[in-house]
Symmetry: C2
Subunit: 479 residues, 2 copies
C-alpha cells in the first residue's frame, strides 16, 4: 500500500525550500532554503509546470496530481508556520502598496486571461505568505490575531475541506449539533440553565453587537419588524465613551441613528460611571426619547476595562432596559466569532423564528472552537499535568506577560509620557520597515498617541517583551 516511488518526498522539511522549479517570474528566492542551498525534496520530484487546475480532481485520473499538489502546498504552509514562530525571522517584510503592485520579484497580483500552471500557483502561494505579516510571531504585539493555534488551524483546514454551510441540519448535521453543544457549554459556564439560552456564532464582534441591538428592539417593540421604525417611538441607547464603535454603527445601520447613541462618561480607568448612566437615561426620557438598551463592556477596546456590570444591571432593571454585555471572551475573539450575550431575563429569542441569522447561509465557524475545546481544557485544576495549554492557562500566561511589561516599565527610566503624540507613529513606522516587531498605538480622549500592547499570543515570552522595550528605545533614540 505504501509505494515509496510515488512519494513526493520530504514532507517533514519545514524550511522554505522544496522541489518547486524556478518559475518564469521567479528571480531566485523560491526553491532555495534560507541559506540558499538548492535541493529536491527527497526522492522523485514532481513537475508541476505542465499541470493545470483542470488536471486536478474531479478530473478523471486527477487523484495523483491532486495529492502531489496539496502535499506541496502543505510543505509551503508548514515552512511558513515553522518560520513564523522563530525569533530570528522578521515579523514582516514591509513594502508600500505601489511596490507590491509593481510586482515585487515577479510576484504578480494581476489577473490575466491565461491560466497559470500549478508550479506558478504554488509560487504565488509562497509569495503571498512571504509578503504578508506573520501574525503568529512571538513579537507580533499588534491587534488582533492572537497567535496561530495549531488545533485551530487543523479545524479550519477540515472545515474548508468539508465545504458546507450552516443553514440546515440536512447538509451540516455534525456542525449544527456541535454549535448546540458549545453554546450550551458556554451557557452553563456563565450560570444559565440549559433551556435559558440560545444563540448563533456570527462573523465577528461588530455583527454580534448589531444582533444585540436588533434583538432588544424587537423584544420591546415587535411591530418594528413588519412596520418599521415609523411605527415605534424614538429610541435611545447607551454605551460607555470607551466602548467599541460598533454600537454606533449598529444604530446607524438599524435606522435608529447614531446620534441616538448616548456615550456615558468613564472613570480614569475606563469604566462606565453608573451615576452618569442613570442621569443620562433620565435626561433622554425628558427629551421624549425612549431608552431601551444599555451596552456594558467586559474589556474595553483600548484599556481593557470592565464596566461595573451589577450596578448597570440594577439601573437597567429599574428603567426596564435591555442590558447587553459585549463579552470579549479570549477564546472567541481568537476565532473572530463572538458569542452573543443576552441577559437571562430576556431569554426568549423569538426573533425570526426558523432562521436565526441575518444571513441565510452561514460559514461553519463552530468546528475550530469545538476542536480546540476538545484539545485543551477549561481549567488547570482538573488535570494539573496537562494543564499548561488549557484556555485558562493561556489567558493567565497573557496576563502574566502584561504584568511583566508593567513591572519593567515602572523600573525603566528611558520611558516617559511623550508629548504631542508624534513619537509613537514615527517609532512604529521605523519598526514596520525593519520588521522585527509590531505593535499598535492610538490616542484616547486627552491622552496623546500611546503604544497599545496586545497580549494574546501564546508564543510571546518575557524575552519578547524585553526585546520590544529595547527596540522602542533604540528606534526612538534614532529619531
Amino acid at each position: 500500500m505504501f509505494d515509496l516511488e510515488e512519494s513526493p518526498g520530504n514532507i517533514m522539511d519545514m524550511t522554505e525550500g522544496n522541489s518547486l522549479h524556478k518559475s518564469k517570474h521567479d528571480t531566485g528566492s523560491v526553491g532555495n532554503t534560507d541559506d540558499g542551498q538548492k535541493y529536491d525534496s527527497g526522492g522523485v520530484s514532481y513537475d508541476f509546470s505542465c499541470i493545470y487546475s483542470k488536471d486536478l480532481l474531479p478530473a478523471e485520473d486527477g487523484e495523483e496530481a491532486t495529492k502531489h499538489f496539496l502535499q506541496e502546498l502543505v510543505n509551503i504552509l508548514m515552512a511558513h508556520v515553522s518560520k513564523s514562530i522563530k525569533r530570528s525571522s522578521k515579523v514582516l517584510d514591509f513594502h508600500h502598496p505601489h511596490q507590491l503592485k509593481e510586482g515585487l520579484e515577479g510576484f504578480n497580483l494581476e489577473l490575466s486571461d491565461q491560466p497559470e500552471n500549478l508550479e506558478q500557483i504554488l509560487v504565488d502561494c509562497r509569495d503571498t505568505l512571504k509578503y504578508g505579516v506573520k501574525t503568529g510571531h512571538p513579537r507580533f504585539f499588534n491587534q488582533l490575531s492572537t497567535g496561530l493555534d495549531i488545533i485551530g488551524l487543523a479545524g479550519e483546514w477540515l472545515t474548508s475541506t468539508a465545504n458546507t454551510n450552516m443553514f440546515t441540519y440536512e447538509i451540516s448535521p455534525v456542525f449544527v449539533l456541535m454549535e448546540e453543544v458549545v453554546l450550551r457549554k458556554m451557557h452553563t459556564i456563565i450560570g444559565w440553565k440549559e433551556e435559558d439560552g440560545d444563540g448563533i456564532f456570527c462573523p465577528g464582534g461588530s455583527m454580534s453587537n448589531l444582533y444585540s441591538v436588533l434583538l432588544a428592539r424587537f423584544h420591546l417593540f415587535p411591530a418594528v419588524k413588519t412596520h418599521g421604525m415609523s411605527a415605534i417611538p424614538h429610541l435611545a441607547l447607551f454605551t460607555s465613551a470607551h466602548s467599541h464603535y460598533s454600537i454606533k454603527k449598529a444604530a446607524a445601520v438599524l435606522g435608529i441613528g447614531s446620534e441616538n447613541v448616548v456615550l456615558i462618561r468613564c472613570d480614569e480607568r475606563g469604566k462606565m460611571l453608573p451615576s452618569e448612566l442613570n442621569a443620562r437615561i433620565n435626561e433622554a426620557k425628558i427629551k421624549g426619547l425612549v431608552p431601551f438598551y444599555v451596552n456594558a463592556t467586559a474589556g474595553t477596546t483600548v484599556y481593557g476595562a470592565f464596566d461595573p456590570l451589577n450596578e448597570i444591571a440594577d439601573i437597567s432593571e429599574h428603567h426596564g432596559l435591555w442590558m447587553h454585555v459585549d463579552g470579549l471572551l479570549q477564546e472567541c475573539n481568537q476565532l473572530c466569532a463572538e458569542y452573543l450575550f443576552q441577559p437571562d431575563k430576556h431569554y426568549d429569542v423569538s426573533y425570526d423564528t426558523g432562521d436565526k441569522s441575518i444571513q441565510c447561509g452561514r460559514h461553519v465557524d463552530i468546528f475550530k472552537l469545538w476542536l480546540m475545546w476538545k484539545a485543551k481544557k477549561k481549567s488547570q485544576l482538573a488535570h494539573p499535568l496537562q494543564g499548561s495549554e488549557g484556555f485558562e492557562a493561556q489567558v493567565n500566561h497573557c496576563l502574566e506577560n502584561s504584568e511583566y511589561l508593567y513591572y519593567k516599565l515602572k523600573r525603566r527610566t528611558d520611558f516617559q509620557l511623550v508629548f504631542k503624540g508624534k513619537v509613537a507613529p514615527k517609532i512604529k513606522a521605523k519598526m514596520m520597515e525593519e520588521g522585527f516587531a509590531m505593535i499598535s498605538y492610538q490616542p484616547l480622549e486627552d491622552k496623546v498617541n500611546f503604544f497599545r500592547c496586545v497580549f494574546s499570543n501564546p508564543a510571546t515570552q518575557r524575552e519578547d517583551i524585553d526585546f520590544l522595550l529595547d527596540e522602542i528605545v533604540r528606534l526612538g533614540s534614532e529619531l
Copy 2:
C-alpha cells in the same frame, strides 16, 4: 536534508486508513482501510496517544509533533477528498440528531474538562467528516455547495494559515491589494471604468443585499445615518415575488419594515413583469410612501429566472429609484462571497468613509477567488488547449447538464406532475436514508412540491443525472 527515518510515511495514501491507533472510543472503523485491512502508514508510525495540544508549537521543541500532527490531518483530509469524488461511496451516512448526540460508534460531541490527546483529536476529525455530507460528491444535487474546487481548497488552507484580518493594509498588505485587483477586474468585465466602482467582499448574498438597501437609503437620505428613520419619509422598496427572501429580511433589520417591501408579480417563467412594477410604484406613491429601491434578480432562487434588467432600469430611472442587481455570479456564489453591485450612476459610495463594512474585522475571503482566477481563465477562446476548466467552461458544463436533464425528462414516461406535493418529500427522505444521492425540493406559488436540481458541481456527469432519475423512479415506486 530528507531523512526517511523521520517521515511519518505514506502521505500518498488517500484511503481512510492510516497509522492512528484505535482510540478508547473507537469501535473498529477507524484505522482500517475501506476493505478492513489494517496497516501502518509506511514507515515509522507516530504515537499521538501521549501528545497533547500543549506539545505543539509554539511550545519549545513543538516543531516535530506539529509536523506529524498536521501531516496526519492532511492524510485524513486527502482520504476524504478522494472518497467524496467516488461514485461508489455514499453522499451521506444519514443519522437523526438524537442518534448523533448519543455518541454514535464512540463519536462524542460533548465537551469535557479533560483535554483529549491528539490521537483522539484526529479520530474526532475523521468522525466529523464521516458523519457529514459529502458536498463534493458527483451526486450531490442539493443546494448550495458547488463541488470541491482543489485550488479553492488550497486557497482556504493558506488563508487560515496566514491567520489575519482584512481591516488594515498594515496587517493584510497582500490580501487588501488582491481584493482591489479582483474587484477592478470584475468591474471591467461588467463594463465599468476603473474609477467607477468600489466594493468589498462580504459574508454571503444576504449580507450583500442588505448592504445594497443600506447604500440606497443613505444615498437618497443621508440624514438617516445620524438621525435615524424618524428623520426621513416612509420608504417602499420593490422586488419580484420570486426573489430571495433576504430583501424582506434586510428591510426588517434596517428598520424599514418588511411590509414595505412590495412583491411584484412574475410571468410564468419567473421574470418580474415591468408593467406591474410601474403600477405598484405609482400605487405606493399615492399611499404616501416614497419608493426608493428596486431589486432586480439575475437568476432567481428557484427558477433561475433573469428579470428584464433594461426595462426595470428604465422604470427606475423614470421614478428616480436606486436599482440593484442581485447577481448570482457562479464563481462568487461558490465562495459564499457575493459582489455587491450598484448601478454606475450611483458610483459615489460615500457611506461610512474609512471603513466600508458593517463589520470591523473581516475574514479574508479574497485569496481563494484570486487563486482560482489565476489557475483558471475567463474564457475558453483565449487558450483552447487549457480551457476545459476555466470558469466559463465550468458554467457551460453545468448548463449542458441541465439541458441534458430537461432532454431526458421530456423523453421519459415515468415522470409526471405529482399532485398534493407529498411525493417529493417522501422520496427525498428515503434518498437521504440510503445516501446515494441528494436533491432538494420545494413548492412555489400554485406549484406543488417539486424537485429542484442544482447544477453547479463540476464533478457531476451525465451518468449521475441518469442515476438520479432512476433513483427517483425506484424510490417513488416503492412508496
